[in-house]
């Protein structure tokens, strides 16, 4: 089944979101080739390493960098939806007053 670049990005996003999406959203094999992670992904992975400097092997850092890179590709779509200043997050903060 042919899918568009946009659909592919969405599938990647879902794969990153949760593995139980996998069966519905497996990218076609020809589109699974790994790309070089972006400079931003590498920089963000470095912030994770700096936070926990003794925890990761070189292989772990590659995994983390790729995962961050996948997520960064999702973000583009988040900003395609038009929102206005009045569009609030879907939670409501409520003030608290305890017993007197």
């Amino acid at each position: 089944m042919e899918i568009s670049r946009r659909e592919f990005a969405e599938r990647l996003a879902l794969v990153a979101a949760a593995p139980w999406f996998l069966e519905d959203f497996k990218p076609p094999p020809q589109q699974q080739q790994t790309q070089e992670p972006s400079a931003l992904a590498k920089a963000l992975a470095e912030t994770v390493r700096l936070r926990y400097p003794d925890r990761f092997t070189a292989e772990d850092l590659i995994t983390i960098t790729r995962s961050i890179d996948t997520r960064l590709r999702q973000i583009e779509r988040l900003y395609e939806t038009t929102l206005t200043n009045a569009d609030e997050p879907d939670f409501v903060y409520s003030v608290y007053r305890g017993a007197d």
Binding site: A13, W20, F21, L22, R77
Partner: protein, 468 residues
């Protein structure tokens, strides 16, 4: 009722046996406790058998029933809960080695409600560690081992409610409570050949349940029939002051209505999926054809469901388990890939997370506008049968890249879904039929699924008896 049939009896049948004094709550509890201890380990389905509590609750139920105090259809009925629900007196492990000794000395609201209805807690059931929130990519992702479907223990039970699915299918509990953030009830229902309801977000209190993603977690019943699930949902639904996201709505099973149901079948729902799954799906719709007006090839609004889900599960999940990252205990998780899970989400910016929450609001409206054109959507619950337990999910069934994207989007916005068994596929493994509807339309989903089960017998099939 011969006692052998207790294992696969419905809640209505068990309740009738209790009322007619053909059995007692204590006899039922002992019967299922024995099965839990003998059969449960074959499927890695059980974390803790709650024997003392079960026998105490059963004895109380027997006293009350003898006195004519009847609490309702769950009175004296054994059940299990996924081990992410807090229960007094027993560990609540969240399926994860770092929490194996965790004691939470309070009952989750759902556990309290079931207790108040007279149900008897016999077990805490296995689950994928931390409900799968760390990104597991193969079945061996729990300290209890990979969940195995009773239909063939070489195959996965599905996750993350692996224990509830396997335990109901194997007849070692009459019903169970599972949880779903995105697919964790419906998937094990399909892979284990049982019925389940993923309620609307907020219909069932999450208080006392492990949080994976506060704004997406749902608790729901898994049982032998959809009617059983509805009976349980009637008990556990409703407002809880301890869960601000819970809503002041209950659930009541409605009587069957005669009108036709308008069903949307999403584009590609049965294309490029396992042929047996596709055939079972079409056959299921045929069984109901006199009750359905089917609209083919409907398309969900084109919105970034995956991006929103990824951001929300990532950000909320890493915060929910920040202590695990901080002290390094995440390295104790079973699945190697889970030990690295969460770290990438530390790089999510607050701005992007808030953006996802802002996008979800128009997304909710758009999906509701879409769903209101139909009574419900119908899809195969999963596009393949269960994966082999010894292969990564990606390699389990190569070549089946189709199907419609429904579980993801509907979980992001929190609308309800059901899954019922609708046949068997490769390796004689079960397949599932799923219906999804607008928020709080559970009664509609249950009505059609119940009609389907009145006309078929897939839900009565029993897995093969294992050789000792």
């Amino acid at each position: 009722m011969p006692s052998d049939d207790f294992a696969f009896a419905t809640l209505v049948e068990l309740g009738r046996a209790l009322r007619q004094k053909r059995t007692t709550a204590t006899e039922l509890a002992n019967y299922f406790l024995e099965r839990l201890e003998r059969i449960g380990p074959r499927y890695n389905a059980v974390v803790t058998v709650t024997r003392e509590r079960a026998l105490a609750e059963a004895a109380q139920a027997d006293r009350e029933i003898r006195q004519g105090k009847w609490r309702g259809p769950l009175h004296g009925i054994p059940h299990g809960v996924k081990d992410l629900l807090a229960t007094k007196g027993y560990p609540t492990t969240w399926g994860a080695q770092p929490y194996r000794e965790q004691m939470i000395e309070a009952d989750a609201t759902v556990v309290e409600k079931l207790g108040a209805a007279g149900a008897v807690l016999v077990a805490k059931l296995a689950m994928v560690e931390l409900a799968g929130g760390k990104g597991y990519t193969q079945a061996n992702a729990s300290f209890t081992g990979p969940g195995k479907t009773p239909w063939n223990p070489n195959y996965w039970s599905g996750g993350s409610s692996s224990g509830p699915g396997a335990a109901v299918a194997a007849g070692i509990v009459p019903f169970a409570i599972g949880s779903e953030t995105s697919g964790s009830i419906l998937t094990p229902c399909a892979y284990c050949g049982v019925s389940g309801v993923r309620p609307t977000y907020g219909l069932v209190s999450r208080h006392g349940a492990m949080a994976l993603a506060w704004t997406m977690d749902k608790l729901g019943p898994m049982g032998r029939t959809i009617e059983d699930c509805a009976i349980v949902l009637e008990v556990i639904a409703g407002k809880d002051p301890n869960d601000p996201s819970s809503v002041a709505r209950g659930f009541r099973m409605t009587t069957s209505r005669e009108a036709k149901f308008k069903i949307g079948v999403p584009k590609g729902a049965d294309k490029d999926i396992q042929p047996e799954v596709a055939a079972n799906f079409r056959q299921a719709l045929k069984v109901l054809e006199d009750k359905l007006e089917i609209v083919e090839d409907v398309e969900l609004p084109d919105l970034p469901y995956g991006a929103v889900a990824g951001m929300i599960i990532g950000a909320e999940g890493v915060s929910a388990f920040d202590d695990l990252l901080k002290d390094g205990r995440q390295a104790q998780l079973t699945a190697p890939e889970d030990r690295m899970g969460g770290y990438p989400a530390l790089a999510i910016s607050a701005a992007d997370y808030i953006r996802a929450l802002r996008v979800r609001r128009p997304m909710q409206r758009a999906l509701d506008d879409f769903l209101k054109k139909f009574d419900m959507l119908a899809v195969p619950t999963r596009t393949t049968v269960a994966s082999p337990i010894d292969k990564p999910f990606r390699e389990a069934w190569p070549g089946f890249t189709g199907g419609a994207n429904v579980i993801g989007p509907t979980n992001v916005v929190g609308v309800p879904g059901v899954s019922v068994p609708n046949g068997f596929g490769v390796e004689n493994l079960p397949t599932g039929l799923s219906f999804t509807a607008r928020a709080f339309d559970e009664a509609k989903l249950v009505t059609l699924a119940r009609l389907y089960q009145n006309r078929t017998d897939w839900h009565t099939r029993r897995p093969p008896v294992p050789t000792p």
